[in-house]
């Protein structure tokens, strides 16, 4: 009898978790679908013909034979997916995205756009993953302490600093760090992903150089991130502190460190995980601009340089990969969420 109850409960839990995963997967597909459609709308609803614009940019430098222009016009039309009826254009657009074929890059001809993106992706993913994780852990830990030990002067001061740092946009903070460490106190490399004279291999020098170059971009992402997680966690903790079960634990003589970690912080962390999933897009925006400021060889620099070079395929490719990448990140966080909040397994 107890065995059957147990198995029926675990069966229910499984279907609960499966249902949860199904809903998250559906939301993931919706995000990707809407995101790609927005990209389509933005590129195709423009009153400017991108083909004519590219042609006029080229022909303004001198005389070009008319049939050469016609040839260029046709190949550009194909590249931009502008041939045929709107329905055909829409289908072509999806076909290219699903087959990850964005054609050759115009600015780095004839390297395919896909190769450029694959080359840049690890830099962005590494920078983003490390700095987001560090900022999240550090901000929640300090914020939790600040909410629990309200009278501590050091933690109050930290609250003031967090309030001052959090609203500053990524660009401004990155620029301030650049000025500080580039002009006033030049101790850190301010540009690039690694020293130019080192071959890309797993030698200690190369790894050390990569780490050194990552400090400033990561620091500017972390400083802003810590501020926002700190403030969120502090107010969440002070709300949880007033809950009956915390008061009861205090009266029962549970050690204060244990109350803080397993009674207060653990419960306050649940909305912070949701918050991480929700702010991933914004953090990615920050990474794009931070990379550009520090000349970091990731997706952000690739995107901005592609705009300057007028490389349509590359801009579209990076945008699509960004939407996909951020959605995958959000999905990953969502799927880990039940580890922290077991209620979703049942509900």
């Amino acid at each position: 009898m107890p065995a059957t109850t147990l198995s029926s409960i675990s069966g229910a839990a499984l279907s609960g978790y499966a249902g949860y995963v199904g809903r998250r997967l559906a939301q993931f597909l919706i995000v990707v679908f809407i995101g790609i459609n927005i990209a389509y709308l933005v590129t195709h609803a423009s009153p400017i013909d991108p083909v004519e614009q590219s042609i006029s940019a080229v022909t303004s430098f001198g005389n070009t034979a008319p049939d050469a222009i016609e040839q260029m016009r046709n190949s550009l039309r194909e590249l931009y997916g502008l041939g045929g009826t709107p329905v055909q254009q829409y289908l072509t657009f999806w076909k290219r995205i699903l087959s990850a074929d964005f054609g050759p890059s115009l600015s780095a001809f004839p390297t395919p756009v896909g190769t450029l993106i694959v080359r840049a992706l690890p830099w962005t993913a590494g920078l983003l993953a490390v700095s987001t994780l560090v900022a999240w852990v550090l901000g929640n830990l300090l914020g939790g302490l600040a909410g629990y030990y309200r009278q501590s002067r050091g933690l109050k001061l930290m609250g003031v600093i967090a309030m001052g740092l959090h609203p500053i946009p990524y660009y401004i903070l990155a620029m301030l760090l650049l000025i500080l460490f580039g002009f006033i106190w030049p101790v850190l490399p301010i540009s690039g992903g690694a020293a130019m004279n080192l071959p890309q291999s797993l030698t200690p020098e190369y790894v050390w150089s990569v780490l050194q170059h990552a400090i400033l971009p990561a620091l500017s992402l972390i400083l802003i991130g810590v501020g926002s997680w700190f403030l969120g966690m502090r107010s969440l903790v002070s709300n949880v502190l007033a809950e009956d079960y915390v008061v009861y634990a205090e009266l029962a003589g549970v050690k204060s460190w244990r109350i803080l970690t397993s009674y207060v912080m653990r419960n306050a962390l649940v909305p912070q995980v949701t918050g991480l999933a929700m702010s991933l897009g914004g953090i990615f925006n920050g990474a794009v601009i931070t990379e550009k400021v520090f000349g970091y060889p990731g997706l952000g620099s690739l995107l901005v340089d592609a705009v300057y070079a007028g490389d349509y395929g590359l801009v579209l490719g990076v945008t699509t990969v960004s939407i996909l990448g951020v959605s995958v990140g959000v999905l990953a966080i969502d799927l880990l969420y039940p580890l922290l909040d077991p209620r979703v397994k049942v509900g």
Partner: protein, 287 residues
């Protein structure tokens, strides 16, 4: 409302600092109307002069007075943030109120779209938008497209407030006394949403101004309209930091940071004041 403001001023240091910062920035933006120079003309004063009594914040390499240029820039920047906030508030209110009150499948559909807009990385899409529009991009166009993306997070907040309001007795009373859905939402629920609406407006302005500065610095907006980001863009174009013309970058940066921190403090303090528990804490702690 007057009591609300009085309590905020009396018990919340953050609110006082926020008001002071925002007032200072607003004052600077109002001064733009008294500028002796038109905003878009260049070489009207000697270039590259450091701050002095004649030119308070110095002059740029393009022969503009930094002080007056800055007052135009901050005015346009605030106007931009205000426009985005206003338009996106309308969407956020509509979605939040309807989704929270109606519930059911409508709520699920709206929230699904909502979560999509929260998650999508906006900067690449705005860059793509600039890429296809190029020089035709105007600040109003940019404001509208940002407003299309800036409502989602706040709609969720409003929805959660309305969901709890729906359970309260007065909603039932108004329903039984024959008020329509529109009446209940605008006359009964909207007043409760107002404080949250205020704090999200401030946060939304911080968000949109931050994005605008970012885009302008890259040159991805209408760079001929003076904005804070536009000023930094031109300073970078003239390599102001390397040339030692630090005042061209320092003053816009300080001004916009003041605006950000001021707006954020207003949002935070109002938010904390709405929450009765934290209000008791601050009022009780003061006595």
């Amino acid at each position: 409302m007057a009591v609300f403001l009085r309590d905020l001023l009396r018990y919340r240091a953050e609110f006082r600092i926020g008001v002071a910062l925002v007032a200072a920035v607003l004052l600077l933006s109002v001064l733009a109307s008294f500028s002796p120079y038109p905003p878009d003309s260049v070489y009207v004063v000697p270039p590259d002069l450091p701050p002095s009594l004649t030119y308070w914040f110095g002059t740029t390499s393009r022969g503009q007075d930094v002080f007056w240029q800055l007052s135009f820039a901050i005015r346009n920047t605030l106007l931009f943030g205000g426009t985005v906030a206003l338009v996106s508030r309308l969407v956020a209110l509509a979605v939040g109120l309807i989704s929270g009150y109606k519930g059911g499948w409508l709520d699920r559909v709206l929230m699904s779209v909502n979560d999509t807009f929260i998650v999508i990385p906006l900067l690449p899409i705005l860059v793509l938008f600039y890429f296809v529009m190029r020089d035709r991009i105007s600040w109003l166009m940019l404001a509208l497209i940002m407003a299309c993306f800036g409502w989602a997070y706040d709609a969720r907040l409003i929805r959660s407030v309305v969901m709890s309001l729906r359970q309260r007795e007065f909603t039932q009373t108004s329903l039984f006394s024959g008020m329509s859905t529109r009446q209940i939402l605008t006359e009964e629920h909207l007043p409760y949403v107002m404080p949250i609406l205020f704090s999200t407006t401030m946060n939304n302005m911080v968000w949109s101004i931050g994005l605008e500065v970012t885009l302008a610095v890259l040159g991805f907006t209408d760079i001929n309209t003076p904005t804070i980001g536009g000023m930094i863009y031109w300073a970078n174009q003239h390599t102001a930091m390397v040339a030692g013309i630090w005042w061209w970058i320092a003053f816009p940066t300080i001004t916009v940071i003041m605006a950000f921190i001021g707006l954020f403090l207003l949002a935070v303090s109002v938010n904390a004041h709405i929450d009765p528990r934290s209000r008791l804490w601050s009022v009780g702690g003061a006595s």
